[in-house]
Symmetry: C2
Subunit: 326 residues, 2 copies
């Protein structure tokens, strides 16, 4: 490739300018944005949420299965999902980007345009960051700020008797990744699964609505899969869960293609659902009529049980997606 078309040819200032053109860079409360040693923000009254996620090539994305535009979307989406899980409204973000010096400028352009599009759609803007050479592969680190209009919803807060609910459907992102890894043609229902792997849609509006109407006692976003994340909510709340495996929201196409057992494994441990898992006090449950969420269990005093038609099952094997042992 012509060196002038690589990031080494473009140089740090050129990369920063490219990203700043692709993303919104102004918003309320910004005093100093991109280009100084630090951003300066005017503190507004109230509570700020801050979340940060690090994505590394080879762990979180693979160029055989995702484009730079997919990664630009996803890196921001996973942070937005964390803000959604607090019931907060996202605001500004910082982007640190590590790039191999031979990276094509067109790839950075695709990444930045897609990130900018999601930022614009989410009403958020870029406040600063860092751009460095990363010899062994792309590194994307985002820190996202948000504002709480209501009391932030923690993982702690579930009480025995509350209902356990989840938004959307589970397992499709993991199915999409496995489909791509299997080298099968992406068509028919697989297109939707692959899209959920490549471009997750954070549940911002739902998270804010649940928080602002005081409907939830605890909430988190499902990034590692229900088998890992549900026990986290239970542990943080100091309570237990009864989870009905036969009520898990799984898209019928997943069951048709993989069978019930494999589809359920994907829904439990596949990860990257970026749906909201939350608990609802019984007397608030009526407010959820018509909202696309599914009741999948109940909060108990202690101990997480996985039930199939009322019969206790062995706990599903959780996967440490961050440090898998094999």
């Amino acid at each position: 490739m012509n060196e002038a078309m690589t990031v080494a040819g473009l140089g740090e200032e050129g990369i920063i300018a490219l990203i700043a053109r692709a993303c919104p860079t102004a918003g309320p409360g910004m005093v100093i944005g991109i280009g100084d040693d630090a951003a300066v923000l005017n503190a507004t009254a109230g509570r700020t949420v801050v979340t940060t996620d690090l994505l590394v090539e080879g762990t979180h994305f693979d160029w055989r299965y995702s484009s730079p535009a997919d990664v630009g979307h996803k890196a921001l989406a996973v942070n937005l999902s964390d803000v959604a899980a607090m019931g907060a409204v996202p605001g500004l973000f910082f982007l640190s980007l590590g790039l191999p010096p031979g990276t094509a400028v067109a790839d950075v352009e695709g990444f930045a345009q897609s990130m900018g599009a999601l930022a614009r759609a989410s009403g958020i803007w870029l406040a600063g960051g860092d751009t460095v050479a990363a010899p062994a592969g792309w590194v994307v680190s985002i820190t996202l700020h948000g504002q709480c209009r209501a009391e932030p919803v923690r993982r702690a807060g579930a009480r025995p008797g509350d209902l356990l609910c989840v938004s959307g459907t589970l397992g499709e992102a993991a199915a999409g990744l496995r489909w791509l890894a299997g080298g099968r043609p992406v068509a028919g229902p697989a297109s939707a699964w692959v899209a959920r792997h490549r471009r997750p849609e954070p549940r911002l509006a739902l998270g804010q609505w649940l928080a602002e109407h005081g409907l939830v006692s605890a909430m988190l976003d499902l990034s590692d899969g229900l088998a890992t994340d549900a026990p986290r909510l239970a542990a943080a709340s100091g309570c237990g869960l009864d989870i009905d495996l036969d009520t898990l929201p799984i898209d019928p196409t997943l069951i048709d293609s993989f069978g019930v057992a494999a589809a359920r494994r994907l829904a439990l441990a596949g990860g990257e659902d970026f749906e909201l898992l939350f608990t609802v006090p019984l007397d608030r449950y009526g407010a959820l009529v018509g909202v696309p969420v599914t009741e999948i269990g109940r909060v108990t005093a202690a101990g997480t049980r996985w039930l199939d038609a009322g019969h206790e099952q062995p706990p599903p094997r959780a996967i440490d997606h961050h440090f898998p042992l094999s």
Copy 2:
């Protein structure tokens, strides 16, 4: 190595617990810290500065020359240096850490203890972060928040007639790295240069003092070297600089060991000085008597000139430390 002694054996929750033990984790305004989807901060009145720096193995550090404890210190120090350059007081930080699964737990312990020691010494605390597998090498991303007690000092703000000053001495960190790369024994004066490469000391107290006494019109921290960073300050301020090469503060041991010309090149373009470069209105200069800073030039209307005994020299070759072309 025994798998139980690696981060893959310890698992994500174990790594987070290790880091949380090593670093202070509480401070003013924290509502929710480590362990939820996001941190929640109670906004205090006034202005917040936010800076973020990404360090990647192979670009920013090399295990042949630095220990995990060195990297833990340096990753936080370079962020503290940015806050110092705004004249602000650092507060909480977020740490995202990418680790190869085979990383020894003892190495993460060394990294975290050293970071924790600098955090404690700087009066700052860890508010959250992310921990992921990074197959190709360590990745350290830090986002640091600070508070402005005075008006934040920008890069823009220098006015013709102001004096250009720099703290400390220049070139030693770069000399230390070259010394290590040359495989020479680290003894005598080289010990001090190597220490400046491995464990830079951010100029927090000086930055705050300059800002709070209204002594400076513009400021940045020297991370890429004077040859790159001085023109940045001039460009941001829309003015020029006359820089006197014969006044650059260079430690005599550097000149003794490398000669004047090479020592000056290190001071101009070596990078990683983490000293403060700032401009002082003439009528404030008296307040700097006794402060360890050196006047190295003057702000002019336009054009940066490099002078040696009053004679203009060709501009020093700047190095793009982020995306070096060769």
